[in-house]
């Protein structure tokens, strides 16, 4: 009996090893490569260029523990999302983009209640949309994902800007033994960090990036592939 249990324990350890190795690689921090290159999906209608001025919408953070969402960890998740967002902004600026961080995501929220509610709505909608876009990224290229023209309130009537949305829905690694399996197996396939550029007039998603590789250089290289047009150019 003891021999059988011993064999099972050895087998369990052998099965856990790949997950453990992947977990160790994945838990090396925010800047780690989550298991693949970054993926960029550009809307066919945006090939002419995306406005060079981007307005950052407060980033969205959702941390999951073994498939169930850890509701108590929301504040922690938002702090991590802000950290990821700062990294993405840095990479964008390095790639020649201009990012306005203070209009919506600054220290003081907008005084206008309608604008404040619109930002809250866009953040909440994007958290769901990011999952759908990760599942069907090719639909981004066909222009199927949109927030609708109602969000034009965020554009303030200006055509020379696009909204920058960042979502971080990573899986939190736990000390629970099954986390070794689940976290390891999910390391390559989970949504992780996603970035989208949205036209504030039409609400259409212009481009979608799955930021698997969160090193600054790799991010900058990915963002450099997005065609941008200078401020003042005609549409």
């Amino acid at each position: 009996m003891a021999l059988v249990c011993g064999r099972r324990a050895v087998l369990a350890l052998v099965l856990a090893l790949p997950g453990f190795v992947l977990n160790t690689a994945n838990s090396s921090g925010l800047y780690a490569n989550a298991g693949g290159p970054n993926r960029l999906y550009l809307n066919a209608n945006a090939r002419g260029g995306v406005p060079k001025l981007l307005v950052l919408v407060p980033p969205i953070g959702q941390r999951k523990v073994l498939g169930a969402v850890h509701v108590k960890n929301v504040e922690d998740a938002d702090a991590r999302a802000r950290e990821v967002s700062a990294l993405i902004v840095k990479a964008l600026v390095r790639g020649g983009w201009q990012v306005d961080e203070d209009s919506f995501a600054g220290p003081s929220p907008p005084a206008d209640a309608a604008l404040r509610n619109a930002i809250a709505y866009v953040r909440e909608r994007y958290a769901q949309m990011a999952v759908e876009m990760t599942a069907k990224p090719k639909d981004v290229t066909k222009g199927k994902f949109s927030f609708g023209p109602d969000i034009s309130i965020l554009g303030s009537g200006r055509k020379d800007r696009a909204l920058l949305l960042v979502n971080d829905s990573s899986v939190k690694l736990t000390n629970f033994p099954i986390g070794v399996f689940v976290g390891g197996m999910r390391a390559g396939g989970m949504p992780g960090v996603t970035v989208s550029l949205v036209d504030p007039e039409t609400g259409v998603v212009l481009c979608f990036v799955r930021a698997e590789d969160r090193r600054e250089g790799a991010l900058a290289k990915t963002f450099s592939k997005i065609p941008h047009r200078r401020i003042g150019d005609d549409r």
């Binding site: 969402v69 509701v71 309608a114 909440e124 909608r125 958290a127 069907k136």
Partner: protein
């Protein structure tokens, strides 16, 4: 024979999982419900046509169902003895006022996100603590209702191509017995309708009718079972 029994047991176990189910938070049973006034917010409906390889939204169908469902839910609740607020904002009023327009949209999206989370971990919901947050208090100036009722629908219209694929998959995985239980195969449209009862002051979700794969009639039947 043994395989047949396993298939039957599996189908019997799967049946209730596809039905709508009511979850109550501890606050629901404690609260005195006599003074409650309910406001049924306009329903959200996402109608998808599940063709092979892509999905498309059917806006006309969605809007028709949205308009019909909110009224039906209000009527069903009223017939059960609940007080329904008549000052609830209508679709036209919401669209005129951009502040309330985005507030209602935000609350509805937040509710859908939380519903999905609760469906994953219903035990955590039963111990309380699921809340839409303080944002609901912004609704207070617009309605006298103490409880907000959110209704959300996700519909899939099944095409012939999908039916053929489903048939092949059912035959492959569960044999002919599975066909008897795979009702979706013979239905034109599948609806997943759910509802949440939210405290208008704290934003706590008091009751959740988990989305199930019945039509509007099955959903209204589930509402009838709510303990008053």
């Amino acid at each position: 024979m043994r395989k047949l029994l396993i298939l039957l047991a599996g189908a019997a176990a799967l049946g209730p999982a596809l039905k709508a189910r009511v979850y109550l938070s501890p606050a629901w049973s404690k609260a005195p419900k006599d003074g409650w006034v309910l406001a049924v917010l306009p329903a959200t409906c996402e109608m998808e046509v599940a063709a092979v390889g892509s999905t498309g939204l059917h806006r006309d169908e969605s809007q028709a169902l949205e308009a019909r469902l909110s009224a039906s839910v209000a009527q069903a609740l009223q017939s059960k003895g609940w007080h329904i607020a008549d000052d609830v904002f209508h679709r036209e009023e919401i669209e005129r006022n951009s502040e309330i327009f985005f507030l209602v949209r935000y609350l509805r999206e937040r509710n859908v996100t939380l519903t999905e989370r609760i469906a994953l971990a219903p035990k955590a919901f039963r111990s309380g603590g699921s809340s839409l947050g303080n944002a609901v208090t912004a609704v207070r100036p617009y309605t006298k209702a103490s409880i907000l009722v959110f209704v959300h629908v996700r519909g899939f219209r099944i095409t012939t191509a999908n039916r053929i694929l489903n048939l092949a998959a059912t035959l492959y995985y569960s044999g002919t017995v599975g066909l008897i239980f795979d009702q979706e195969l013979f239905r034109g449209t599948v609806f997943k309708i759910g509802a949440s009862f939210v405290d208008g002051e704290t934003g706590d979700i008091l009751c959740l009718v988990r989305p199930g794969r019945g039509g509007p009639e099955a959903f209204l039947k589930e509402l009838d079972k709510l303990p008053h």
